[in-house]
Symmetry: C2
Subunit: 104 residues, 2 copies
Amino acid sequence: MRQLPHPDAKDIQLTEVLRVLGDPVRLELVVKLADGRELSCSSAGDDLDIHKSTLSHHYRALREAGVTRTRLNGRERMLSLRRDDLDARFPGLINSILTAAHPA
Amino acid sequence: MRQLPHPDAKDIQLTEVLRVLGDPVRLELVVKLADGRELSCSSAGDDLDIHKSTLSHHYRALREAGVTRTRLNGRERMLSLRRDDLDARFPGLINSILTAAHPA
DNA sequence: TCCATTGTTTGACAACCATCCAACTATAAG
DNA sequence: CTTATAGTTGGATGGTTGTCAAACAATGGA
């Protein structure tokens, strides 16, 4: 498995995006990726008191919904937000969600 | 029961809104309310092939999440989208969701 | 008063979900 | 080669969810 499967941008489903983001843990993870950085799985979840396997399931849900992209990098997996793809498909959506979620 | 309980605008939670809208049936219902009309429960669900009790549960979920308002009117219940409240709390969110969901 | 209409509630049920734990894979480092 | 690191996978579990069906409540009309 050299690469992880990601849905094409055109196949990203709105209800899937909303469903996946309708979980506090996953929304928090996405907020952490909002600034465009790539984060490893461990650094993305390091201040959440959640078992690593649970986080792994969340990462998969986010990836399969098309919300995040996962890049293999040695023994790490770098997560990033698929902002361009999401913006192209659902203009303004991610922005307004992140604005709403951002405590500042 | 003269009035149904609705959350205050300030108590509407983002994850609840996203979770509730992350269901195809409920999203469809909200799309139908997008133009600002009030719809009775039966007219809102008349072209969906779903049992009326199931729809009733969806209506409650939408109302309790703060997405819709339900007004008692005789033996009907009139549904409407709480667009102002949602817009005030999460600027642009409902708009971008409706735009994304709109088939045209 | 009786009946039709509108919608809710309760129960049942299968499916799904978030979580933890233990075992596993794969890569990097020594 | 051996060990440590980064994540995943599969099982188990308890809780939630979407659905239908049947019974119920409330209103309006005949």
